[in-house]
């Protein structure tokens, strides 16, 4: 598990190289921004997928997020906070997505694109079906725990242990103080510690 002071990204990143790329992109260098996309697109996609559980929606939102980042990169002041800045855009975009989805749900039946949890009849007998079942079980178990957390507790828990941001990055992304982040994280962990079923499941599938 990453320590609080380590910076985690989708690929091995040299901080100085990253800062240099961000500065070039900020100055209008399209190729530099494309390199930033290559480095962060998987991490952003995963972040969105954890919060939507839909492959289709996650891809569309990831595209939107990078377009928005490209349009606003000239305004970034602290180039060493690009990751937090990008994730902040991503979180806002996901919130907009859920807000619009709830609003549309008032007028018509839900048009969920959530990925099916269990394999269909055609893939049931294939070897990868077990993999599907385990993945489905994981999402079900983690969903049970996340539903017991408050909004803020859930967000810091996902950012810390699924997106693997450190405390400082979470604080910058959510624009909250580190002590606030730690308080919510403490409460989330206290609830998680009581969930023995998930912990047993994780130990069985991923020893």
């Amino acid at each position: 598990m990453p320590s609080n002071n380590e910076k985690i990204s989708g690929s091995a990143v040299n901080d100085d190289q990253l800062i240099a790329l961000v500065e070039k992109a900020r100055d209008g260098n399209r190729a530099a921004f494309n390199q930033l996309i290559d480095r962060f697109q998987e991490a952003v996609f995963r972040m969105v997928y954890y919060r939507t559980r839909s492959h289709v929606d996650a891809e569309d939102l990831t595209q939107d997020i990078f377009v928005k980042a490209y349009q606003h990169i000239s305004r970034i002041r602290e180039t060493d906070r690009f990751r937090s800045w990008l994730f902040s855009i991503a979180l806002n975009r996901v919130r907009d997505f859920h807000r619009k989805k709830r609003f549309r749900g008032l007028f018509k039946a839900s048009d969920n694109n959530i990925d099916p949890e269990f394999p269909d009849m055609q893939t049931r007998d294939k070897p990868e079906a077990l993999d599907h079942v385990l993945k489905a079980e994981f999402w079900q178990q983690i969903g049970l725990i996340l539903n017991k957390l408050s909004g803020m507790e859930r967000e810091v828990f996902i950012l810390r242990f699924m997106d693997q941001l450190n405390i400082r990055e979470i604080s910058q992304t959510l624009k909250k103080s580190e002590s606030t982040v730690k308080t919510h994280l403490y409460r989330a962990l206290a609830k998680f510690k009581k969930e023995s079923s998930l912990r047993r499941f994780l130990q069985e599938v991923s020893p």
Binding site: M1, Q41, Y49, V67, K135, F138, F192, K193
Partner: protein, 182 residues
């Protein structure tokens, strides 16, 4: 060795150590550094949390679409030829559409004003024809109709014959000269 160092971390302290070890009081940090039991307990808990991240990553599908940035916006001035030519083309298309829709509508249904004029003209024509028919029947002005008796339809030919017999029927009509006249 102090009592704090002998006492293992409780659940609250363990959670704080997992979140940020520097948030623990210094003595507790010292204990943790030297206590295998506490270190193992902390490591097991951190391992469970680490598995969440690892499993979440494995259970996430791959990004299949390439991120495409929008084309760079043109920095041409507003009055660039593309701008006003586009506006002109849009105006021309709009005018053609309006004509294509408006003209057939006008041809199918006449204006309400035209219908009123037409009705008036037809009425005048009918009135004129009626007057012509009346003149054909009787060209005398109405004043003379009273004298002619045309206005009294009960005066038929027999009655007129009684009043003014014709020369052939009058018995005294053969006297050639009038007596007393010399």
């Amino acid at each position: 060795m102090s009592s704090v160092n002998k006492q293992h971390l409780d659940e609250d302290q363990l959670l704080r150590a997992v979140i940020d070890i520097k948030d623990l009081a210094a003595p507790l940090q010292g204990h943790l550094a030297g206590c295998k039991q506490c270190l193992d307990q902390k490591a097991r808990f951190e391992a469970d949390l680490g598995r969440i991240g690892k499993m979440a990553q494995q259970a996430t599908p791959q990004l299949s679409k390439r991120i495409i940035l929008p084309a760079r916006e043109s920095k041409k001035p507003v009055w660039a030829w593309r701008g006003w030519q586009g506006a002109l083309a849009a105006a021309a298309v709009t005018a053609v559409l309006v004509l294509a829709i408006w003209v057939p509508i006008q041809m199918r249904s006449p204006l309400p004003g035209d219908s009123a004029n037409l009705a008036r003209e037809m009425q005048e024509a009918e009135q004129l024809m009626a007057e012509v028919d009346m003149l054909v029947e009787n060209a005398l002005p109405p004043v003379y109709n009273n004298i002619s008796g045309e206005t009294a339809p009960q005066l038929d030919d027999d009655f007129i014959q009684f009043l003014i017999p014709s020369i052939e029927d009058d018995p005294q009509a053969s006297v050639p000269e009038m007596k007393g006249l010399a």
